[in-house]
């Protein structure tokens, strides 16, 4: 029972980290900080614009697989992995 609770706690913590990254790249870099980031250029594109158009999507994709890997590690740690 205690194991289940700590597993759930770790799971929720991981989801919160993912949501924080999701918010930072989509709203933070793409909207709120777009002007200061636009002073930096990345491959000819303004960085704020690039995050709003492409960067956030790339980060979301990376986040999907990072989350899955971390959860699989958690499964192994708590011995609840898929057979």
């Amino acid at each position: 029972m205690e194991n289940q609770q700590t597993y759930w706690k770790d799971n929720v913590r991981l989801i919160l980290v993912c949501l924080a990254i999701w918010f930072t790249v989509s709203f933070g870099f793409g909207l709120l900080l777009v002007e200061p980031l636009n002073t930096i250029r990345l491959g000819g594109y303004k960085l704020g614009f690039w995050f709003a158009q492409q960067g956030s999507i790339y980060t979301f994709l990376a986040l999907v697989f990072w989350y899955a890997k971390k959860m699989n590690d958690l499964d192994k740690k708590y011995k609840v992995e898929e057979k």
Binding site: W22, F60, V64
Partner: protein, 155 residues
């Protein structure tokens, strides 16, 4: 494709299903936020291009970033051509006592073109004639303001 999806771990499947929902939520929320920001009143100063302002030869361009306005005079009609659709356009002819006559321009066919009959042709007649003009154009809550002096180079 479907078989490959089934082979993924349960966490990858969940993450792949949740991610598009978060992307759509983020897109909708950012659209609402951007719309509300666009409606806030903001002021931008327009600068005259380096060539100066010759209304008669249609060479009077004001700009602020990517936003550009071209003002020109044909007979008694003053016309404004904008790079973005305008909501309103107002012209002020300023005399030597800094008193201004206001001319609210009307839309001509599309929000990119605005015109109004003005006495401007009388003031800019002849080479070297000058006239102080103020111009206010509004675009979705943004106010583009410019003050400049015309400088005719042709009759």
């Amino acid at each position: 494709m479907y078989q490959a999806f089934l082979k993924l771990s349960r966490h990858t499947k969940i993450a792949l299903c949740v991610a598009p929902i978060l992307i759509i939520l983020g897109w909708a929320a950012s659209d609402i936020w951007a719309e509300s920001q666009a409606m806030k009143p903001r002021f931008y100063e327009m600068k005259l291009s380096k060539q100066g302002c010759d209304l008669v030869s249609k060479n009077c361009v004001l700009g602020s970033g990517e936003f550009e306005l071209n003002l020109y005079q044909e007979g008694n009609v003053t016309t404004l051509n904008s790079s973005f659709p305008l909501d309103t356009a107002t012209l002020f002819l300023v005399d030597k006592y800094d008193e201004s006559a206001v001319f609210r321009m009307g839309m001509k066919d599309s929000p990119y073109y605005w015109h109004r009959e003005t006495p401007l042709s009388e003031f800019v007649k002849g080479t070297g004639s000058q006239q102080k003009i103020r111009l206010i154009a509004t675009v979705k809550g943004g106010r583009y303001v410019g003050e400049f002096i015309t400088n005719n180079r042709v009759n």
